[in-house]
Symmetry: C2
Subunit: 301 residues, 2 copies
Amino acid sequence: MSEDGFTGTFRTRHLAIVGLGLMGGSLALALRPHIETIVACDPNPASREYALANGIVDEATDDLREAVSDAETVVMAAPVRTIIQLITNRIGAYLRSNTLLIDMGSTKQDICVAMGHLPVGIHAIGGHPMAGKERSGIAAADADLYRERPFVLCPTRRTTPATRLRALSFVEALGAVPIEMDALRHDRVVATISHLPYLLSVTLVATATHEAQQDDAVWRLAASGFRDMSRLSGSDVQMIGDILSTNTQAVATLLAEFRMQLAMLETLLISRDERKLVDALTPIREMRLKWAEEYEQKRTI
Amino acid sequence: MSEDGFTGTFRTRHLAIVGLGLMGGSLALALRPHIETIVACDPNPASREYALANGIVDEATDDLREAVSDAETVVMAAPVRTIIQLITNRIGAYLRSNTLLIDMGSTKQDICVAMGHLPVGIHAIGGHPMAGKERSGIAAADADLYRERPFVLCPTRRTTPATRLRALSFVEALGAVPIEMDALRHDRVVATISHLPYLLSVTLVATATHEAQQDDAVWRLAASGFRDMSRLSGSDVQMIGDILSTNTQAVATLLAEFRMQLAMLETLLISRDERKLVDALTPIREMRLKWAEEYEQKRTI
């Protein structure tokens, strides 16, 4: 059910998925019961073979036109810049009028702008499911990946009221929770909760590596706190490079904000004003505990 | 077994533990089989009652002299500045000559300096077990808390070769892994793997809180990556204030190093030189994966 109480039924006979990784494969598994034919497009023969052999999709091709030309719904589950290139260069000419085109890229502004230039008659809307796994690739695909997770929808110039209703029913069919917001706002939020944390994790490991060059006890003594804080630095660098490069301005803004907050805490630390330091740390701790409690409750529903 | 192959037997009839929290309580449980009498000192009546009612210690008092005057080994399991105050003001006068005095404070330089002023004849050595739990307090005490975990030992001016051997056998009796290093080095290592990560976690939550004042979608969309990166910000602020305030210089040094590393990555990001960015991220990712693999192996031994 959407924020304004919408409940519709997702009706698509032919679905095309562009990109057969974790996201595209999980989408196919989740929508299987709702769809007559799922066709996938991926340049990698191994991914196509895996998807066919495991009954994840009905057809698989490396020909974009072939994959999408009969589809009533097309989902782009590729890296952000691949999505932008496909939208800008080709896909508009291949789609039937009235097709619902939705993407699952991690940043939304550039994609939504590109979608705005598609032919009138294409129902294009930006999408970002807030779901993932440490493992990537189609072999990690999971029908429940999107279940109960937020699925952000961002309107484009090609989003009509009908587009929106179709997208909401698509998100519902996935078992996800639709959250509607404009692309600019989305990109700033993910810079805060995802891209900044990644950069902090990477920079922490870079700093520890630098220290370990003088004293390898760093690695021997690092424990669970360091493990948690360094986990994101193990993410796929190509994927992250793609994401950061399409969200530079928001990320730079958040880094500036981060530095300001860090400077305030450091001032209290260096001036040895412990009472003020503890007073500053207390509401931050409380905010985290409150968020974590609500988050874990949502996860166990 | 110590790094140089030492294996001794821990022989103490009377053990005193100063501080009945998670650390002191776990120590008592772990050493129970080796000791005739364990006496604890804590100002909190509830902690003393809990420890007595659950058979964690044999005697409990709020009188330091009473607790330590018959002990052959005294372990200080209190906040860093409490330890320093006890060493500086009183404990030397209460201890018998030849007593082994070891502490479990999270920073070592100030404590080890204070220990150096104790009467000759006291065997004083700094200690820091790299173990902990999200829950604190004696009710969370766990006989296996220190098992297989590193236990750092830092020599003081009151550490003789005999002190060292007795401390090594103490660490072995705990089932922990002794790692010997000087206090300055210890404090820089923990600034890297523990205090810097805490400050990053806190500053991330402060930044997200600031963003959420304009857009509460921040909290609704934050997920597992943010959860991992924000976990440390939920730590006990009094304990952390105590730790940071006794390690200001090392923490400030690490913050300066962190800022330098962050500026390098940000330069690559803002200049949109994605190939160089990915080239910089790749070895960091590899270092993290290598460390995490070794760490998880150690954890499952």
